[in-house]
């Protein structure tokens, strides 16, 4: 982290970049939030640790509208999102200075209250340690780092950045699960069970739009879910159709463009496993139209804007 901060100060002081897009310390260890740092002094709040799960790619759209270059820190998986935005002409590569940072898997505070660890008051860990120290009302406990990792880190896309100007730090391989295992489990259910499963999950949704707002693929200037009636943002006006179909529509809108960065599931305050929708599309696309990873390059045609003469007929991939 010190290394990143020093490098950011250096670039900011030399005038090569006008601002730094990074993570800012919060009140608690886990309250890290994305932030633009405009001056060297403000960088004292900069932080990079296990709680920096936030994907900064989407903020680069905003940064592109400002004067000068922006220094941005991207983890390997974030760089896929950035590349996808680049390909969609939503960000300006000329106005970005990208430092690819190492990642050892990111933590989710909401995963920690398990195994009798209740009333969590704080959590911290020494940089290299394998274990996480959790302060609770009933004393300090330790949790294996792996057990508190975000879901997406268990199916990590790898240690390689797909776009960067320079690299800092080491990454480790954190894969220990099958990316499509849960999707397959649901596919094997009966229609009644599938419906019961999704109804249980989706009925928790409060339509806060956090998943949409954080999603790098959901970056349309005009969104179908925005109110047209009052020109007020977001949730002021929704029809019952939107209410019911929100997640299906959203998943379809990002199908073929979703890099599976897992931000939707990370930010959902209700803990809905939203990545299951996106992964279903990714799985089908991979099976039917050949393996495709959105954001991995700038040339390959996206599966939904492409076709072959002998594509599978609808109904083939089902069941």
């Amino acid at each position: 982290m010190q290394e990143l901060m020093e490098r950011a100060k250096e670039l900011l002081a030399s005038g090569e970049v006008a601002r730094v897009l990074g993570w800012k310390k919060g009140e608690n260890d886990w309250d890290v939030e994305p932030r633009f740092f405009e001056s060297v002094d403000s960088l004292q709040d900069f932080v990079y640790d296990g709680f920096c799960g936030a994907n900064l790619s989407k903020y680069m759209i905003e940064a592109g509208k400002k004067e000068g270059k922006t220094l941005v820190f991207l983890k390997p998986c974030d760089s896929y999102s950035y590349n996808q935005l680049l390909r969609e002409h939503r960000v300006d590569r000329e106005k970005a200075y990208i430092i690819g940072v190492g990642c050892k898997g990111k933590l989710s505070i909401s995963k920690i209250p398990f195994d009798g660890i209740v009333s969590v008051q704080g959590a911290s860990y020494p940089d290299v340690s394998e274990n996480l120290t959790v302060q609770t009302l009933y004393g300090t406990q330790t949790v294996a780092y792996k057990d508190a990792m975000l879901e997406r880190c268990h199916v990590c896309k790898g240690k390689e950045h797909v776009v960067y100007d320079e690299l800092l730090g080491e990454s480790t391989d954190t894969v220990d699960a099958d990316r499509f295992a849960e999707v397959q489990r649901i596919e094997a259910m009966s229609p009644e069970e599938k419906f019961a499963f999704f109804q249980k999950e989706l009925s928790k949704c409060i339509r806060c739009n956090a998943c949409r707002n954080v999603c790098p693929a959901c970056s349309c200037r005009k969104c179908v879910f925005d109110s047209t009636a009052f020109n007020s943002d977001q949730k002021a006006n929704t029809t019952s159709f939107e209410e019911k179909m929100f997640h299906i529509i959203r998943a379809f809108h990002v199908a073929g463009r979703c890099t599976d960065c897992g931000e939707c599931s990370r930010v959902c305050p209700q803990g809905i496993p939203l990545h299951l929708f996106n992964r279903k599309f990714i799985k089908d696309i991979n099976n039917l139209y050949g393996a495709y990873q959105a954001g991995s390059d700038l040339e390959t045609k996206a599966p939904l804007t492409n076709f072959t003469l002998d594509d599978a007929e609808p109904g083939v991939g089902r069941g």
């Binding site: 696309i285 076709f307 007929e313 609808p314 083939v316």
Partner: protein, 145 residues
């Protein structure tokens, strides 16, 4: 709605202007019968069908939705149905994943000369949906009614 012997499903059929709608026309002028439960919506091309149309049809009470277009290779706009094919493949797979039985959705390529195929397709599709009963799933996905 209780499923009774007289229950009739509501079927929405999206038909492309150039092939399938003409096919339906031919079925009519050839005096071939197909169930009156099928409500045909004419679209310029099968590719015009936004996935939201399908969802909207289900939300408004359709028990089954079928999309008919020109045979691959015969699209009036050259390639429209190829895109539609990919989209519908993914959407219908997703609906199945959510618990909407795959019998409720279907894509069939019907040309302007295939009046018989149109009538047979509609008969078999309606029969299939009748067997599945009313669709309450999509409208109820978030326990909203």
């Amino acid at each position: 709605m209780p499923v009774t012997e007289n229950w009739k499903p509501t079927i929405v059929a999206f038909c492309c202007n150039w092939c399938s709608y003409a096919g339906a026309d031919l079925a009519g002028s050839s005096r071939l019968a197909y169930p009156a439960d099928v409500k045909i919506i004419k679209v310029p091309c099968s590719c015009r069908v936004n996935p939201m149309f399908i969802l909207r049809a289900f939300e408004k009470g359709a028990d089954g939705v079928i999309l008919c277009g020109c045979h691959p290779g015969d699209c009036h706009y050259s390639t429209g149905n190829y895109y539609a094919r990919r989209r519908m493949t993914l959407l219908f797979s997703m609906l199945d994943y959510l618990g909407v039985e795959d019998g409720r959705t279907r894509v069939e390529w019907v040309s302007a000369a295939e009046g018989v195929k149109f009538s047979e397709t509609m008969n078999s599709f309606v029969e299939k949906v009748r067997g599945l009963g009313p669709n309450v799933r999509l409208g109820d996905l978030r326990c909203r009614n």
